[in-house]
Structures are given as C-alpha cells and as structure tokens.
C-alpha cells in the first residue's frame, strides 16, 4: 500500500472547480483520481459532479469525461469498457455517481452492471440526499433527517424511514470487490482504492461524502463529521472480497449517535424518542457490519418494542 506521502502530486481534478467550499465529494473525487491515475476514463451521471467539473466550455478533470443522463452509470461504464476491450486498451473505467443516482433512480443500472460482473469501478459518493436539486430525500437519507421533501413540520419531523443498506445489496451480487470508505480515514481509503484498481471485475466503492449546505454543517467540519460518523457507527468501514466480509477499521470506542446528530442542522430538531430509535438502528447495523455487538454503554441490551415473550400459546401457533 502507498503511504500518503508517497501519493503522486499531480492533481487530475484541478483547482478552480466550482464545488462548494468544504465539499466532501470534491475531496473524495480528487483523492480517488490521484490514486487511479491518468489511465482512467470517468463517467458522471446528472449530479453536482457534472456541474462543478464540466460546465461548458470548462472541465475540472484532466482525464476523459462523459456525462449523458442520471440513471445509467452502470450501463455507461459498461459500454465504455466494452469499447476499450474491443480496442485492446486497458483503461480504468470509473463511474462517480451520487446516492440518488445509485440507491434510487440508478439502482437497476448498477445492479445490472454488477450482475454482469463488468470490469469497471463504480464509486458511489453518498451525501445522503439529492443535493444538486436542492436537498431532497433519497433512499440513502438517514432517519430523522430534514430535507426539503422531509420537512420539519407540525405533523412530521424529518424523514420517517431508515437509510437503505446499499452495500449489503451490492454484496448480494457476489462481486469481486466492495468497500466502504471515508476520506477522513486516509490509510484505509488509499488501501481500498488501490485494491480496487488492481482487481478485475465489478468493484463497488462506497464513500460517505458530507455536504455542507445539505447537512447544514460548518464548512470546516466535513472531515471532522466523517470521523464522528465512523466513531458512532453511522458509517462503518469494511470490505467484501469475493463474498468474504472483512472489517477494516473499527473505532476503539463507540460513541453515542447523538454526538453525530447534534453537529448537523439536518438532525438538530430530532426528539429524544427519535434519537433513541436512531441509536437502536445504529447498534443493529454495527452488529451486522462489524460482526459484534456495539459497546454496552451505547447499546444496552433491550428487547425491541415489537418483541413479546413467547408463551405456550405462541408455541402452539408457530411450532417449536
């Protein structure tokens, strides 16, 4: 693995791009490209990524860039790769799609490409809502979060559904490589992008990318919040290699999710009850992703509300 100081200097995603100050997507794209190198072709579906890296006649990337539509990243990178294969060219074909373009409108396309095991790298830049259109909820938006389509109103307060577990869906495709990443964990980030670069077949890299206006955070805190996402279990770092799960980084001490939530304007309205529900969800995901229970101070053993004692009557109904 390359140490941070040995990464190349050349910036393939140049200064002067028009992403917001503090943009988590910009940090992720820049460092991913730094590792992938010049022999790369990029597809970006409709997203901030098109606007801030390819507003005519300017472009931020120094590598070939294609955009066509929103829901087709999986298909477009498949098509690019097919052409290079025919031409006998060995090129890294990479798609940088957002959560809307992956979890929702592009799910069919990413699933198709994964199932066909296309030899491409799919990078999901997950900022947990449709930020380009002005912060609307997506399948990735966490429970409780304010967005313009999950407003904090008199009757409902923020999103009432939990975040879709996309990496698990992708893992179910039995792809050669899948990893969750955070630019706030650079060693882990570099190792995973490098690994993806060397493996052939469908590779899915899932990056959590803070959005300053969408998360209502201080623009200086994008990295800090990402660290806290990992420390609380709102983002878990692991990988799947040929179907085998491996935890790559587990925080020494699990922190309360409330610490993460209260740093962000999108969550600040949440009631104690909602925060408790969120904590329960985080603890369950922690167990699923890390293969062990979350810390007992944060995740007390508690029967879920739906659960009730099994009586003899129930045994009769459901069998032993």
């Amino acid at each position: 693995m390359t140490a941070m100081r040995d990464l190349p200097d050349e910036n393939l995603f140049v200064m002067g791009h028009t992403a917001c100050p503090g943009c988590g997507v910009a940090i992720s794209i820049r460092n991913a490209l730094r590792i992938l190198g010049k022999n790369t072709v990029v597809y970006v579906p409709a997203s901030c990524g098109v606007v801030f890296s390819a507003t005519y006649p300017h472009a931020a990337m120094k590598v070939p860039f294609l955009h066509t539509a929103f829901e087709n990243t999986g298909a477009c990178i498949s098509g690019l790769k097919a052409a290079y294969e025919k031409k006998g060219k060995n090129v890294n074909v990479v798609g940088f799609a957002g959560d809307g373009g992956t979890y929702d409108i592009g799910l069919q396309s990413v699933s198709g490409a994964a199932e066909r095991n296309e030899d491409v790298i799919y990078i999901c830049l997950d900022n947990e809502a449709y930020m380009n259109t002005g912060i609307q909820r997506s399948g990735s938006t966490p429970f409780g979060a304010w967005t313009t389509t999950t407003p904090v109103g008199k009757l409902t307060r923020g999103k009432r559904e939990f975040k879709k577990d996309l990496p698990e869906i992708m893992a179910a495709h039995d792809i050669p490589y899948l990893a969750t990443l955070s630019v706030a964990h650079p060693a882990d980030f570099i190792r995973k992008v490098e690994k993806a670069k060397t493996i052939s077949g469908f590779r899915f890299l899932h990056m959590l990318t803070p959005c300053v206006p969408g998360w209502k955070i201080d623009q200086a805190k994008s990295i800090e919040i990402l660290k806290l996402a990992v420390d609380t279990g709102m983002w878990t770092l692991y990988e799947f290699e040929y179907g085998e799960r491996k935890v790559t980084y587990r925080p020494g001490k699990m922190r309360f999710v409330k610490d993460y939530l209260m740093m962000q304007g999108r969550f600040r309205h949440m009631s104690d009850e909602d925060i408790k529900r969120m904590q329960g969800w985080v603890c369950r995901k922690w167990g699923q992703h890390y293969g062990e229970k979350g810390s007992p101070e944060v995740c007390p053993v508690e029967l879920p509300a739906e659960h009730h004692a099994i009586t003899e009557d129930h045994r009769g109904m459901h069998g032993p």
Binding site: Y56, P64, F65, L66, A69, A75, S78, L80, S109
Partner: protein
C-alpha cells in the same frame, strides 16, 4: 449467397456484415429475434463483437452511446415500449453526433397493449435528431443496416440512423435475401474512424453541462447535419447500387408516376401491396414510397405538388391533430408552393392488416379529390362506425 430468412434474421446479418463491434441488447417482441441471432453469431465465433445482454432498453442505449463515444462501431435494435424507454437517451445520441445504427421494429405503443405494427413508436422520436428510414422488404432491411453506417459515419452527417421495419409483416416473415459477400461489404464500408473518442492518451470532455449561451449553436449544428444527410443519402444509395446492384432511390422512390394524375404516398410494407394495386388504375395513380421520414424530403414533396393533381398520404399512426404525422408534414412542405388536395388515409393501426381493397379505396378517394369532388381530408379506413 441467397437465404430464405426473416426480416429480423436479415437485420442480424446486416449488423454482422457491417462488423459492429459492440452490440448491447434487450429483448422485446417483435425485435427479439435480431439480438438472438446476433448472440448466436457471437457465441459461434462468426461475429467478432462484444455482446452485452443489458437489463433494460434504457441501459442498452446508454451503453451503446458510451461505447460509441469510446470509439467503437455499435449496433442495437428495439421496438415500441423499448424505444420509448430509450427516449431520453436518443436525445443524447444525436447532438453528441454518434453514428449509431439501431433498427426499430415498429410495434404499437401501449395503451392499448398490442404487439403488432404501428408507427407511433418511431414517429414519437421524430424530433430526436435520428435519421429514420422505413423499410419495405427483408432485403432492404439488410441493405439499409449497411448503408445506415455509411450515411451515419459520413463526416458531413455524423448522426445516428434508425432503420424502421414493420413488426411481424417483415420481422417474422421469411423471404429470399441475397447476403452480400463480407469482402464486398468491407470495401464498401471501411472500419469506423471516429471524429472523437474518449481516450486517456488524448483526453476530451463529452456531454458537458451547457449554459444557454451555447445551446442555440449546438442545435443549429445538429440541424445542419440533418440537412447535409439529404445529399449524402442518395450518394450512398448510388454507391451501394453500383457495387451490389440494388438501387432504392434517395429519400423517396417513385413507382409508375409518369403521366399519373395523382400519387399515393406510402411507407413500409404497404408500399409492396400498393405496387400491385396501382396497376389496376391504368396509369392514373402513381406510387411514392416515402423512405426517409428524417430528413424529411420537403423538396421532393414540393416537386410532387407541382406535378400531380392530388396526393394521398398513408399514415400508420395518429398525431391527434385529426390526422397522421406524415399528412401534417406533407401539408407543411406544400404550404406556399401548391394548393392541390392532400388526402390522409389512416390504416393499419395496431397491426390491422392493410388490404388491397383498402389501398384501392385510398387511390379512388385521392382521384375523386383531384376531380373536384368533396372528399374528407382524413379517412379512417376499415374502422367500424366510420364511413369512408
């Protein structure tokens, strides 16, 4: 070599002979046989292409666009709802100036759900910048796939081409087709040399986000390419004829029009039946086969307006303006040039068979209009409850 094959099979041979390098595919009746045959060709090693079995038509057109942008010659085929599902991507392919060839096997668009021939699928894409040619028989299907690449890849054009072929009437009908020799096709249609391709050795940006200060100019560029194709299409047709001996004419083909009073304008397979029917009118009715609907042959139609006393226009789809889309555009082309009667004949919607009797009626009505009789401008043929 002569083979007795379906229209779909003929198209598959066309793609193979044109040496398409990437074929993305998705099944839909009545197109499915095309991609099945191509899958077989590739699987047997007879065709050196990357076959991509996609998960939807939208992804088919997306992958096709991307592969073409990366420098590959691509082919695909679809029909009806599949074409509609591609709609968004069709509008990307043309202004990006990607010379894709895609066969559309015409099928009615739901609702009502049916699988038979109607043109409302391809007509809905007339403003997408794709060139559209309507096919009369299985031989023309094969030939227009090969000519399609020559037209599409011409530096003056660089636009995608959509040969449109009647569902079932051609797609599932066998007839003799002459398969040209690969060596001859290779001479006629050399390998694809893209004007641009996405290549890390020479990076380019394609599909940028464009502010308003560029889009009028982009549209004008695409319009000029469509106009330029009017010159290229007959050139390619002549070149093809001199090598393979089959001449389909240019944007339109005239049949028995010399000395005729009126003409009937048809598209697709109805043209074939009409070739026999007009003989009954002893030279009074000529036939015009509208081959290319895009580019629209306005000049040729104005010429018809100056030579004949009436034009009957067959439409196999409806524009909900009262008549069919071809009728509307023929009238628009004649505006300010000719005031002869233009009579619309709607028939064959949803795949209803267009019979010789109906075509006869079309000729009669057009003649009566020319003779000054009051004739309904739009006629619904063989439609219960509508008198003709």
């Amino acid at each position: 070599m002569k083979k007795v094959i379906t229209g779909d099979h003929s198209v598959a041979y066309g793609a193979k002979l044109a040496r398409a390098e990437v074929v993305a595919a998705y099944p839909i009746t009545p197109q499915t046989l095309i991609v099945e045959h191509i899958a077989e060709f590739v699987s047997d090693g007879e065709m050196d292409a990357k076959f991509m079995p996609m998960e939807s038509e939208h992804s088919v057109m997306s992958a096709t666009i991307a592969a073409q942008a990366a420098g590959a010659r691509t082919f695909t085929a679809t029909a009806s709802q599949g074409l509609a599902f591609m709609h968004e991507m069709l509008y990307v392919a043309a202004p990006l100036r990607l010379p894709i060839v895609m066969v559309n096997v015409n099928r009615t668009i739901a609702y009502p759900v049916g699988i038979w021939c109607e043109y409302n699928d391809s007509m809905a894409e007339r403003d997408s910048g794709w060139l559209q040619v309507y096919i009369e028989n299985n031989q023309e299907a094969l030939d227009m796939v090969i000519q399609g690449y020559m037209i599409a890849e011409d530096r003056r054009v660089l636009l995608p081409v959509m040969p449109c072929m009647d569902g079932f009437v051609l797609s599932h009908t066998v007839e003799p087709v002459e398969l040209p020799a690969q060596e001859d096709v290779d001479v006629f249609l050399p390998g694809y040399e893209p004007v641009y391709s996405l290549d890390p050795d020479n990076p380019a940006v394609a599909g940028s986000f464009m502010p308003p200060e560029y889009i009028m100019e982009m549209r004008r560029q695409t319009m000029d390419a469509v106009e330029a194709s009017k010159k290229v299409i007959p050139e390619v047709g002549k070149k093809f004829a001199s090598r393979f001996g089959r001449d389909y004419g240019g944007l339109v083909e005239e049949i028995g029009t010399e000395g005729a009073d009126v003409v009937l304008m048809t598209m697709g397979t109805v043209t074939s039946t009409a070739r026999e029917v007009i003989a009954e009118f002893r030279g009074r009715v000529g036939l015009v086969k509208l081959r290319f609907y895009r580019p629209f042959p306005s000049d040729e139609i104005r010429d018809l307006g100056s030579r004949f006393r009436a034009i009957g226009v067959f439409d196999r789809s409806l524009s909900y303006t009262g008549g069919g889309p071809v009728f509307e555009e023929v009238k628009a082309a004649l505006y300010g040039y000719s005031d002869i009667p233009v009579i619309n004949h709607l028939a064959g919607l949803g795949g209803r068979d267009v019979t010789a009797q109906e075509i006869r009626k079309m000729c009669e009505l057009t003649l009566r209009a020319a003779d000054g009789e009051r004739v309904s401008r739009v006629n619904w043929h063989a439609t219960r409850g509508v008198p003709v």
